[in-house]
Amino acid sequence: MANLNDHMGRPIVAVTGIGVVTSLGVGKADNWAALTSGKSGIHPITRFPVDHLNTRISGMVDFLPSSSKGASLLTYELAETAAQEAMSEAGLDAGDFGGPLFLASPPVELDWSERFSLYNSDTHDTGAERLLRVARGLRELDIFETTQFGSIADRLADRFGTRGLPITLSTACASGATAIQLGVEAIRRGECDRALSIGADGSATAEALIRFSLLSALSTHNDIPEKASKPFSKDRDGFVLAEGSGALVLESLEAALARGATVLGILRGCGEKADDFHRTRSKPDGSPAIAAVRAALADAGLSEDGIDYVNAHGTSTPENDKMEHLSLSTVFGERISSMPVSSNKSMIGHTLSAAGAVEAAFSLMTMRESVIPPTINYDNPDPAIVLDVVPNAKRNAEVGTVLSNSFGFGGQNTCLVMAREPV
C-alpha cells in the first residue's frame, strides 16, 4: 500500500495526464522526438509583415486552424488541444472533468485587426468615440468575448465540464507554474480530488513583439533563427518570443490509484517568492529566486541533495541566465557544476504564460523517458556561468526528481519540484 500523504500529512498529488503544443508540433510524441534530437522550432515570422521590426523570428505556432485568428482564439485552441491530450491520457471523460480549472493565459486586449475593421466600418467622429459608437451597434458577442479576461477559461470550462468558477491567472513568465501550484494546493486542501492546470499563450502579435523589443528583451539574431536562443552562452542577446501550451491533469494519488489510473509523476513541491527590487530586473543578490527554490525544496520535503536535474528558466537573456546561475549555485553549492541543468527554451523559445506548464510537462517526460533534453546552441559558453547545461545533445540518465524554475517580470518567482515516484 503506497503512502498517500506527504511529509506534511497532505494528500500526495499525482500527474495522470500530460498535453503539450509548441512550435515543434502538437502532442507529446512529436515534441519529445524533436526536443531530444536537439531540433529548434524557431523560424522566421510569417504571420504578419516584419517591416520596421528589429526582431523577425519567433517560435510561433503557425500550424493550427486558429493561428491567424488573433490571440484570444489561438490561446483557446492551444489550451484546448493540450488539455484534450492530457484528458485522454488520463482516461477521463473529456466533457465531464468534475474538478476545478486553473488557466494561465496572457492578458487580453482588442486585436488590431478588429480595431481596424470596427473603425473603418464607419466614418463619423474619430478615435475612441467612433469605436465606442460602432461597438454599441454590434449585434453579436464574438469580438466582445475576445476582450473579456475570463472568456477563454469560461469556454474551456464548458468544453471539459470543469467544476465551479474557473481561475484565470497571470504571474507573467511564471504563470504556467502558478496554474499548477494552484491545482496542487486545491487538492492538498481537500477541496477536490482532481484539477486541470493549463498554461497557454498564443499572443505573439506584432504589438507584443514590439513591446518586448522596446524593453530590449528579444534576441535580434535573425539570420539563423534556430541559433538565436542560446541560454547560458556568452553571446546570448535576449529571448525568442514563442507560443505554446501545456496541460496537466492533477489528482490526489489516492484518487488516481483508486480508479486505476497510470501515475505519470508526482507534483511534490511548489515554492514562490516575490521580488521588490525592480519591474524587470532581479535583486542583485538573487535572494528572491533563491528563496523560491528553497521554498519549493522545503515544500517537497527534500534537501539540496534531493534534486537530480534542473529544468532551467533559461531564457537566453543576459540578466536571467546570470541571475539563475547565481541562485542555483547559492542553493546547491559546488554540486551545481556537476548537476545537469538544461533549457528547453533553447529549442522552443519563451512561451511566456505557457512556459511553466510546458516545461513541467517536459520535466515529467524527462523522468519517465530517462532522457534529458539538451540546451542547444551552446557553442560559446559564458565563462561566468559554470553549469553542466547538457550541451547540444540529449543525455540518457536516470532522473528521479526535477526542479523547474519560472521567473518573470514584476518580481514573480515560482519553482516546482517533481518526482518520478511517490516517496
Binding site: 509583415p49 492578458p107 478615435g127 479576461f149 468558477l165 506584432a206
Partner: protein, 395 residues
C-alpha cells in the same frame, strides 16, 4: 471561534466618494447621498470619477509613480491604505511574509497613439505595415509594463515590500471573487497567516468603456440608480473608478498583534452559471442556499452592476427572500469590475464593525434595515459571467 478563522484586519478603499473606510462610512450613512457623476467627458456615458488623490501619500517615490498608469497607481494606493489600516505597512517582517492575490484587469493603452494609427488606417491598405511603423516609433517603452495585468501586484511588491507571494487573477468580477475565496482557503488551511487581497478599476479610459460596450452593456442617457435601469437606453452598467483591498488574517495572528478586527469572513462562494442555458436564476438561488443565511432580517451589500439580465436575476432572487434588505452600492460608486467583490466585502465588514446598517441607497426599491447587522451578505453577480457571495460576520 477558531484560531484559524479568517478575519478582516485592514481595509483600503478608493471611489468617487473619497478614500479610506471612515470617509466611506461617513458618506454612505448620510440619507439620500447624491452620487458623484461625470456625465460630459465620456458622453453619452456617465462615470463615477476618481476623487482627488495625493499619490505621494502612499507611493513615496515619483519614479515609482511614473512607472505606472493610473490603474496601477490606484491599486497600489488602495493596497497601501489597507496595509496602513492593518498596521502592516513599514513592518518589514510582516510584509516579507505576507501573501498577495490581486484581481486585475489592465490594458490602459496610449489613446493618442491608437487614434493616430486608426486615423491613418483610413487611407492605407497596408495596415499591418502601418502598425509596425507607428508602434515601433511612437509607443513609450515603459507603457507595456505600466499597464500590464500582473504589474499591479509587482508594483505593490516594489512600493510596499509585500513579497511573501504574488498571484494575479484575471476575469472581471469573477477574479475578485476567486481572489477572496482562494485567500480565505489558504488561511483556513494554515497555508498562510496574512494575505493582501483586492483590486482596482480605472474607468476613465476609452478602452475600459469599450470592454463593456462591445456587448452594449453601458447605460446611456440620464443617470439612474442601479436597480432602475431596466428599459432605459443602453445596457444598464454605469462604471466607476475605484479600488478595494483587504487584509485577511488568521484570527490568532491578528489577535497576537493586538489589531482591531473589523469582522470575520464566513463562507465565500463562487459559481459559473451557463447563462446562455438559462442557469443564472438557479445558480444565484443555489449560492444563497449554500451560504446558509442566518434567521431573521439580513443586510445584503449587493455588487449588482446594472447590466439588465444579471441585475434583474439578482434583484428577483434577493426579493424572493423577504428577510433580505439589499443595498446596491453601484448606485453610489459605479461598477468597479475586478474590485467589485472586494468592495462589497469591505462595505459589509464596515457595517458589521459599526453595528449599523447603511440607509437605503435607492428609496424607491430598497427597504430600510433597523437592527444591528451581525451577519451581512456580500454579492457580486458578474455583468456577463461568474457569480460570487460571502457572509461577513461580527468578529
Amino acid at each position: 471561534m477558531n484560531p484559524h478563522d479568517v478575519v478582516i484586519s485592514g481595509i483600503g478603499l478608493v471611489s468617487s466618494l473619497g478614500e479610506g473606510p471612515d470617509a466611506h462610512w461617513q458618506k454612505l450613512v448620510q440619507p439620500r447621498l447624491e452620487p458623484v457623476l461625470e456625465a460630459s467627458r465620456f458622453s453619452p456615458y456617465t462615470v463615477h470619477p476618481l476623487p482627488e488623490i495625493d499619490w505621494n501619500l502612499q507611493i513615496a517615490k515619483r519614479g515609482d509613480q511614473r512607472q505606472m498608469e493610473t490603474w496601477q497607481r490606484l491599486g497600489t494606493y488602495a493596497a497601501g491604505l489597507a496595509l496602513d489600516d492593518a498596521g502592516i505597512k513599514g513592518n518589514d517582517e510582516l510584509c516579507a511574509t505576507m501573501d498577495m492575490v490581486v484581481a486585475a484587469g489592465g490594458g490602459e493603452r496610449d489613446e493618442a497613439v491608437d487614434a493616430a494609427i486608426l486615423a491613418a488606417s483610413e487611407s492605407r491598405n497596408d495596415r499591418d505595415v502601418l502598425l509596425n511603423e507607428k508602434l515601433t516609433t511612437e509607443l513609450r517603452p515603459t507603457l507595456f509594463l505600466a499597464q500590464l495585468s500582473n504589474l499591479l501586484a509587482g508594483n505593490i511588491s516594489i512600493v510596499h515590500k509585500v513579497t511573501g507571494s504574488s498571484r494575479t487573477f484575471m476575469g472581471e468580477e469573477g477574479a475578485g471573487v476567486a481572489a477572496v475565496e482562494t485567500a480565505t482557503a489558504r488561511i483556513r488551511s494554515g497555508q498562510s497567516t496574512h494575505i493582501l487581497v483586492g483590486g482596482a478599476f480605472q474607468t476613465e479610459h476609452s478602452d475600459m468603456l469599450l470592454g463593456y460596450e462591445l456587448a452594449g452593456y453601458l447605460h446611456r442617457g440620464a443617470w439612474r440608480p442601479v436597480w432602475q435601469r431596466q428599459g432605459a437606453e443602453g445596457g444598464g452598467v454605469v462604471t466607476g473608478s475605484g479600488g478595494a483591498f483587504l487584509v485577511l488574517e488568521q484570527r490568532e495572528h491578528a489577535e497576537r498583534r493586538g489589531r482591531k478586527i473589523y469582522a470575520e469572513l464566513g463562507p465565500v462562494l463562487s459559481g459559473r452559471a451557463r447563462r446562455r442555458r438559462g442557469e443564472l436564476d438557479g445558480e444565484i438561488a443555489a449560492l444563497l442556499k449554500q451560504a446558509a443565511l442566518p434567521d431573521g432580517e439580513l443586510l445584503a451589500i449587493s455588487g449588482a452592476s446594472g447590466a439588465h439580465a444579471a441585475t434583474a436575476a439578482e434583484k428577483s432572487a434577493l426579493e424572493a427572500n423577504p428577510a433580505i434588505a439589499a443595498r446596491g452600492f453601484s448606485t453610489l460608486t459605479g461598477h468597479l469590475k475586478e474590485a467589485q467583490f472586494p468592495f462589497a466585502v469591505a462595505l459589509a465588514a464596515l457595517a458589521v464593525d459599526r453595528k449599523a446598517a447603511y440607509p437605503v441607497f435607492d428609496a424607491t426599491v430598497e427597504k430600510p434595515f433597523a437592527g444591528v447587522p451581525k451577519t451581512v451578505l456580500a454579492t457580486a453577480i458578474g455583468y456577463h459571467q461568474f457569480e460570487g457571495m460571502a457572509l461577513i460576520k461580527a468578529a
